[in-house]
Symmetry: D2
Subunit: 336 residues, 4 copies
């Protein structure tokens, strides 16, 4: 039997810690060897919980640990570049959480480091691994809706993250922070986007406006092929976490997504109701696990990564153009 892939997870925030747990228990073919976090106590606690033999405070130590085969980069986005480049230099296989980077130049440097060091690199866009999104992709490839023509995608968060997080210098702003998933899907299903136009406003939460971001935004997309698309983003979903995508083709339409968490209908006087999906963990747990499994399988079986630096850069370029358009009031070309 092929040796398990020995994993080191860098960055143990909420999702990083969860990934550490998944590697321990949910990903056949992987074993968790090390975790690291700038807060040494967090690293130790996660190591204790997961049974990871090593806990580092400095990711450099994890990256060069000879018993680590693959580095999973879960740090804040602004550190993605240095960790990925260090891991590439150390010759490790790399999984990097989205977004690749807020800085395209840095993204190119990451891409170059991966290429130069001939290491395996896979970027995380978990929605592509969601059962429903993946099924839709197969159905399109199977010709179920003919040629796809119009892409529409909506993301709603139930409530906004802390305002401090939303400061565009940190998050990149709504179109980058939330929209990156939708822009990736836009490319994945229908090809390259050439220009984008956005509108938006701090309509529900004035405090979000004060830090320079918007809480609701809409972008239209024009594809290089002439096809069109639309992205709708909201920090004021209120009812729940709502992720829906529609693709209109020459022979039919696909609608992806759902808004009910628990399969119970409550039927009282004049009203039928059900609950909602609370957040991304509940909605995308299967997708998170599947993408990690895919990463592990790809490394172990010498398969090509399905999502590479260029995918992160290209989605980011759309998001950057969308953000630029919001401020310029003009359609903005998406840089290649």
């Amino acid at each position: 039997m092929k040796k398990a892939l020995s994993i080191g997870v860098v960055g143990l925030g909420r999702l990083g810690s969860q990934y550490a747990r998944y590697f321990t228990s949910r990903i056949p073919g992987a074993s968790l060897h090390a975790v690291s976090d700038v807060q040494a106590g967090v690293a130790k606690a996660v190591a204790a919980e997961t049974g990871a033999p090593k806990a580092y405070a400095d990711y450099h130590d994890l990256v060069v640990d000879p018993l680590v085969d693959a580095v999973v980069v879960m740090t804040p986005t602004k550190l993605h570049g240095e960790v990925v480049i260090a891991a590439a230099k150390a010759g490790k296989a790399i999984f990097c959480e989205k977004p690749l980077t807020l800085d395209i130049r840095e993204g190119r440097a990451m891409e170059a480091a991966v290429a130069k060091n001939k290491v395996f690199f896979q970027l995380g866009f978990m929605r592509r691994f969601d059962r429903a999104y993946a099924a839709a992709k197969r159905q399109i490839e199977d010709g179920v809706i003919g040629e796809p023509l119009v892409f529409k995608s909506t993301s709603k968060d139930q409530f906004p993250p802390p305002v401090e997080y939303l400061r565009p210098s940190n998050s990149g702003g709504l179109f980058i922070d939330m929209g990156i998933h939708d822009f990736d899907l836009a490319r994945w299903y229908m090809g390259e986007v050439s220009s984008v136009f956005s509108v938006g406003g701090a309509l529900a939460y004035p405090e979000i406006g004060k830090v320079g971001d918007v809480d609701n935004g809409l972008s239209t997309l024009t594809y290089a092929s002439g096809k069109i698309g639309m992205i709708s983003l909201s920090r004021s979903g209120i009812y729940g976490y709502g992720i829906q995508t529609e693709i209109v083709g020459t022979k039919g339409t696909l609608q992806i997504g759902y808004d009910r968490e628990t399969a119970v209908l409550v039927m009282t006087k004049g009203v039928i109701s059900h609950d909602t999906v609370p957040g991304f963990y509940e909605r995308f747990e299967q997708a998170y696990i599947s993408q990690l499994q895919d990463f592990v399988d790809n490394v172990r079986h010498d398969r090509k990564p399905p999502i590479v630096c260029q995918d992160g850069i290209a989605a980011q370029q759309i998001a950057i153009a969308a953000t630029k358009s919001l401020h310029s009031g003009r359609a903005e070309a998406v840089k290649a």
Copy 2:
């Protein structure tokens, strides 16, 4: 162009008055000539509203009015027999609202009068004319679900009628008053029922128990063919008027019915809700009109009636057996 069918409506309760209006405005090929009600004032008011030239207090006068081609019998059930027989003797085409009769002997007499006088007779079972129920019938005939094997039907009223109405000597009891529709569907979709077993109770409304009826009941059906079925009846639907039928076949299943009246989803913090169907008018208006149209078309074009006395008698026999079973605690044979 063929002459319009001249209609006389006997019995102007809520549904009778509504039918009078339908004949005036919704049924091409029909014209409303006369209405009658024991309350002469009601007859006059409906005549005034609908423009019917004649208003009678005594149905005998309507039945012999030479300008009436067809008599529509909407009286309380216990009068169905005498009105139908009088209309048959007068040589009129007849539409009689369900149930045909609570008294099988009377039903046979009606059938005989129709046969002897060679008049057209059509019984009302509006569900058969509901777009969804009719579509399901066609799909079964088209073989979409193969051979139908199991019939299941549920009827819920939002709240019970007045207790006085429910007295079994008046209404016949739950299995007759509410179940007659489901028993008719049971036959229509899958053939003759040979025995029935029922349970029930005055579970929600003790006052219903006091007059000798139940407010919730369940029957299992055994068909002559060996197939099986189930009927579920509730006076305590509470949330709304819920009519659903399922037919399980060798190649698939059909589910008929719906529980939302208005196409709006209200999505607030953690809850998604919609309204419910309030009652039978809202749910079956299209079916009421379609069955009257069908009656008029059948008479005018010398077509056979799709629902005859025997259908009313057969459904009633099942309902009677179901009621008997409720009291005997045994499966009861359905009389042919």
Copy 3:
């Protein structure tokens, strides 16, 4: 009892003929006195079918008929102006089908003629009378979703009209011909739109591109209030007629619309399916009738019209800006 409103219908295309039938049978308080169509044979046939006493080939004759109280204008759009103005001069109450006009200057002239002659004028936008759209309006007014912030509306036709009809010189192009309904809803629910940006293409039907129109289009809206919106239009709905609107507010979201015509689920090996809504008659029959009833009631009871020339002009101005944007590639201001 108040005298019935005597109606004359001008223009007997598919919808005009249907309205004539509705006035005969479905609109209490109205009576159909006259119909007119440039094809005299059509006018005669509709008069014969509906029993309208008068059939005119020239609308001028209908408009001055002293027995006509109210003129219902159902001609091709380019004739709306002259018929409305003639009817206003004749002192008649007027119902005019949407769009008011393709020519804003003409719209102003119509508005002036109505004002000068002090006649009642109501514009048709039937979606406002759809049970679901009307319920959503009430729910917003009741504060169910707090302050509405984002408007999104989608219209899909199952297949395009004849190419000749689509020539923009005739139809006005996609954003005017199809979008006018969505632009009206955009205003009705959330106020005045100040600018619009559009993308689109002849993606499914190249022949539509050859006559200068697009078959799929998307517009983003910016409201004077800073709120935002989105319109999505498709001539290649394929699966059916799909009309959906979503309104995101500070306390929740409303979703309006449905995609199933008949309440039957067909469940076969691995697949559950249902039918679709075929077209606007099926989807909006109740709304068409309700808006005519509302018109008749408003005239008879001296109520103000809920939709006036300015509503038609304002929706048209958005549609014009949307069309202009499609060609300019820039956001276009909506003229007041």
Copy 4:
């Protein structure tokens, strides 16, 4: 930190092997120490896959292994008795898969052995741990539907198991083999059932009739309280695995269950469709894991088991009465 519960799994069929995997990876607080199967090769393979230190061919060896804290009994039903009694004598905590036994006398012996040896015993009825079924239980306890009055539950398998398995001497027949879950829910939500009446037939698969079983069956239930219920069972679900329950109360109704596996709607010319739930693994994986977690937590934290021998016996008594009724054609009392 509390020591992990050391688990031994006896019986490594499809579900037993899956449970072994769950204990390795999905159940915090548990560690898999041993597995056993009469096929020694299967035990070794599962041990190798899961990393369980011990693989036994004879369950007696597993049961007395001093490093095993808890025995999970996953053998064919007819062996449940002897394994549970052996485990009880060995002083182990016990989880036993449903059905407890086909033989009530044996069930009493198991209950006695558990009591005498003062061991922890929990019976598996995974539906109670399904998120939706559990939510419905809480909602009922919270009074959301008032007093529950009518219980209705439907189970459909997509296709029947091998005929050999269905031989009633092996499976107990439809009402025991499939119905046991529904009968347990009937008790859990609404209390003790006093009598049951069944109909059924080998309607879809004559070969099932030849071995003495039926493929479709319906039971009505009468509760000791006078409430009523209904169970519908089908081996010919065809479209998929369909598990639905409805509870009608004095203030409303709950409907539990769903029929779509993947959140994609496919919308093509005139048809909207989605996939179905293929089987019990897909439908109830979360429930299987949650019930094992609950077992482990209960043992470790000295909590009472939520489901005991008597629950298995009581559900079995209803199922036995349902089966007896099928043959007698009479309502049968449920033995206490």
